[in-house]
């Protein structure tokens, strides 16, 4: 397979960037809702929601960005993927609706707070699960007559497992984010859950990797054919290293709490970056497996690409605005840097 350097590849990478940003940012955001049932008091729930209340909107914008880049740059893939995954997409959207409005309504409610708690937890979990489900199906590939009656093809043991795995991954990101944004008992709890989730996520990644290599001969050939394995071996090795460091950092936070000594700042902040690194490596691994397909074994990115007139038109927008977006998003995070306090700021 020859790599053709061109606009198509650029947009494929851009799409990858958008998806990765979405997964990392909305990952910890949705993860907060997945973790929700494991925290019980109102104060803890307040803290969880307040730690992401100012960023959830921006984080979800990356999902819209991914959607419109797919729409504008690969219309055929957008059309095929969206209609193939009709039900999981609709369910994901409904989940996102409930968890999104919960931010506003929960803080303004008195008697209905418990409903908004459920809306946030169930909505976030449903959205994350559906995303994992679609990811699993994409890796697995869908049959040719995909849109028609047969489009329940997204329902398989493998895709269901991927749904749960993505939930665990998002919950891990949320734990690491919480370790950064909280102190005291809550931080201790987050670190403890985080350690368990590292193990669950690593086990899931191992299972998913073996499963795909086993069921998909093309993916097996990609990883083990010729000298490929030699080039690709750093991916699993680095993942294991990141997981090891992550587990150790969270353990240190844990131990500091037990010994009642101050938690060191770098042990609070590093876990989030390590978890992000883990996601990045898994994502690269996924790209290796499915490249050059947007809809595996059906539609490659070159087949789905829009005409050059459209791809060229979007370039200036991307080169001017994407750096700006990254800059002011970072600025937003900086303004709200530090721990979330138990005092309601804002409007």
């Amino acid at each position: 397979m020859e790599l053709e350097l061109g606009l198509g590849l650029f947009y494929l990478l851009l799409l990858g960037f958008a998806i990765l940003m979405y997964v990392l940012l909305d990952g910890f955001d949705l993860g907060m809702g997945i973790l929700y049932p494991w925290f019980n008091s109102d104060a803890e729930h307040d803290h969880l929601m307040r730690s992401v209340a100012h960023v959830w909107d921006g984080n979800e914008t990356w999902l819209v960005f991914g959607g419109v880049i797919l729409f504008g740059a690969f219309p055929a893939a957008y059309a095929a993927i969206a209609s193939t995954f009709y039900l999981p997409i609709i369910l994901m959207l409904i989940g996102l609706i409930f968890r999104g409005v919960a931010f506003e309504y929960r803080f303004k409610s008195d008697t209905s707070k418990k409903y908004w708690n459920s809306a946030f937890a169930i909505g976030s979990s449903l959205a994350a699960f559906c995303q994992g489900l679609m990811l699993g199906t994409l890796v697995q590939g869908v049959p040719t007559d995909f849109i028609d009656q047969s489009s329940f093809s997204w329902l398989s043991p493998f895709s269901l497992f991927c749904g749960l795995a993505v939930m665990a991954g998002y919950a891990l990101l949320a734990c690491c984010y919480l370790v950064m944004k909280s102190r005291g008992e809550l931080q201790h709890k987050a670190a403890r859950y985080g350690q368990r989730l590292v193990l669950i996520v690593m086990l899931s990644m191992l299972l998913v990797s073996l499963w795909t290599v086993w069921i998909e001969p093309e993916i097996r050939a990609r990883w083990f054919g010729g000298w490929h394995a030699l080039w690709l071996i750093p991916l699993p090795l680095l993942s294991m290293l990141a997981a090891r460091l992550l587990f150790r950092d969270l353990g240190r936070v844990n131990r500091s709490h037990k010994a009642e000594t101050a938690v060191q700042q770098r042990h609070e902040e590093r876990p989030f970056w390590l978890a992000s690194g883990l996601f990045l490596l898994a994502f690269v691994g996924l790209l290796v497996s499915v490249f050059p397909y947007l809809l595996p074994r059906q539609l490659t990115y070159l087949e789905a690409a829009a005409p050059d007139s459209s791809l060229m038109f979007m370039l200036p927008g991307i080169f001017i605005f994407l750096p700006l977006i990254c800059a002011y998003t970072l600025w937003g995070y900086k303004i709200f840097a530090g721990k979330i306090e138990d005092y309601q700021e804002g409007y």
Partner: protein, 479 residues
Amino acid sequence: MELDVSILSRIQFAFTVSFHIIFPSITIGLATLIAIWEGLWLKTGNPQYLQLAKFWIKPFAITFGMGVVSGIVLSYEFGTNFSKFSEMAGAVIGPLMAYEVLTAFFLEAGFLGVMLFGWQRVSAKMHFFATVTVAVGTWISAFWIIAANSWMQTPQGHQFVDGKFEVVSWIEVIFNPSMPYRFFHMLLAAFITATFVVMATHAWYLRKGQHIDFGRKGLSMTLWIALVLTPLQAWVGDLHGLNVKEHQPVKLAAMEGIWAEKEANVPLLLFALPDMKAEKNHYEVAVPGLASLILTHSWDGELQGLKSVPAADRPNVPMVFFSFRIMVGIGLLMIGVALLGAYLRWRGTLYQSNWFLWPVSLMAPTGIIAVLAGWYVVEIGRQPWIIYGLVRTSEVVSPLPAERVLFSLTLFVLTYSLLFAVYLYFMRKLIKKGPAPIDHLQQQRIGVKASGYALSFTKTLATDAETSNSPATETKGAY
């Protein structure tokens, strides 16, 4: 009855997009109003403006949240329900939406966090900048989505290659013939919608005898704004109508209920029951020649009628006809309110005239109804075409099993009905609670520049709370 997937998909899109447009219509105008109040507060130091901004930012926040979640649905619904359209026109519509996300959505979302939660973390000027940015973001967003929609109404600048649209000139695509009119018409509509939501609320306070100063300030400002914007909107609307006559004559014929292939000296129908089978109107109440005068600027000007095209190429006439009358009727009512308000102000009896305040306090939803009615004219009036004159809507839906779309449609109807009730409940709650007292606002010490300030402020609060042993009251009572 056999379920038709094309009808179901169209109903679902109509329902979800109708629900969505309610919220941006309010937030575009409300963000602008809040930015104006914050700017006036910075300029004059009058705390009343801060009170207005800080009160309305709460309804703004829940409205914006509703707009965001219902908007995400739309960005995927093109693909889920109109996959053939997405594939065919994606190269035109997709990049326009990509620009909307790049130049508007991220901007709004990025600065919204600071606008809502950053009062104690950035300087007052920086906060004002964030609010202005959010407001401008909403305008930019309207620009791109109207450009995309207008291209579907009056397409140009493209070519058709292998069953797909390709763009030849982006300038022609974006600035297509109907775009400027529709952009200004919608932007004004959004400003007016928010103006009347605010006006009604403040009139309600005055009628109830609550928050008198606050009520007066808001009512006075919004009446001034309405006095400028509502006549301006009538003028822009008229220009837009002329543009429709030029580019979408069949839509115009449906709006005016004109059946004959060509008709001169066309009457303006105040009321009628259009009958699509008999191809004529019943029970006409008309002003002779007025439609010709308005649309051609001459009493015996000629207009194209519905029979100039085959029945299969006509939209649903009664829906377009009545939606148009609802929109225009509300517009005239708004102009009337603005003029009457100005007259009462001149007489010096505005704040005491309960007979005026009472109906005005009920006008909060009028802008939204007019926006919806206007969009129904636009969208139903364009049928059966999805891209006017080129592609039929029924040809480009996703080939999904009908039951699946029925299922999702049911899910959306249930979810949105529930959410709309919740939205109204919380709006009512916020409005009943009223604004924070002015002295309370000054205690909040907005505009402290150090971002570490929040932390130290919190610590003093925490110690206060410990001594008074009531941490809950501090958070609950925070405005």
